[in-house]
């Protein structure tokens, strides 16, 4: 099993550009999450999903959108990139209220 995979690993965006961060898990987990982590800080929840077709906002959803058309994929969309969105983004999944499995992260810089 590959676990949770994320692409790209690094990306530099100009202000106002758009991009999609990809996340795929092969563990057949129902629950998936997107977090952002600023330097030296914990993780803040952006969006989460409890199953295909069901998503909900986390703590910091502004400026982001998600979709969940399949169990495996949970892409995160940035529509109009802003410098405040410079961060490291982690995708995670779990099957129950237990261990969350994290991807390796996407490091995004908006200039």
């Amino acid at each position: 099993n590959a676990g949770v995979t994320q692409t790209p690993k690094f990306r530099i965006l100009k202000i106002g550009q758009s991009m999609t961060l990809q996340c795929t898990q092969d563990m057949n987990h129902n629950y998936m999450y997107w977090y952002r982590q600023d330097p030296g800080m914990g993780l803040k929840l952006i969006y989460y999903s409890v199953g295909a077709g069901i998503t909900d906002k986390g703590e910091v959803p502004n400026g982001y959108n998600v979709s969940r058309s399949t169990t495996e994929d949970f892409p995160l969309r940035l529509e109009l990139a802003a410098p405040s969105q410079t961060s490291v983004y982690f995708c995670a999944s779990t099957q129950t209220f237990s261990e969350q499995y994290f991807g390796p992260g996407t490091r995004l810089t908006v200039t």
Binding site: G40, G42, K44, L45, D56, F97, E99, Q100, F102, G103
Partner: protein, 112 residues
């Protein structure tokens, strides 16, 4: 959303020293998880504590859950450079289904 406070925020020690990291909340935890995150990687679960007063050991790491389930600690004995990383506590507590809330983390640096 349940707020988690971790202390200290930074810890820089020499190899062989002992250390303790704390995680506190004003609310009762349903359960508490500890994760370690190494530079450039995602967090990895170390342990989950569920019962008040519970103590779990993982090699040189000892995890304790407070009797009232409002606090937890992580104690590392004889720290090694390989213990360097960000230690995060997290809980599923709160009213929102499926949401894990993290503390701000403790950055540990162990010098050889």
């Amino acid at each position: 959303t349940q707020l988690l406070e971790q202390s200290p925020q930074f810890l820089s020690i020499q190899e062989g020293e002992n250390l303790t990291v704390y995680c506190n909340s004003s609310s009762v935890f349903s359960s508490l998880q500890w994760y370690r995150q190494e530079p450039g990687e995602g967090p990895v679960l170390l342990v989950t504590v569920v019962t008040g007063g519970e103590v779990k050991k993982l090699k040189r790491l000892t995890f304790q859950f407070g009797d009232a389930r409002k606090d937890s600690s992580l104690h590392i004995t004889a720290a090694q450079p390989g213990d360097t990383g960000l230690y995060l506590c997290a809980t599923y507590g709160g009213t929102s289904y499926g949401k894990l809330t993290f503390g701000q983390g403790t950055i540990l640096t162990v010098h050889p």
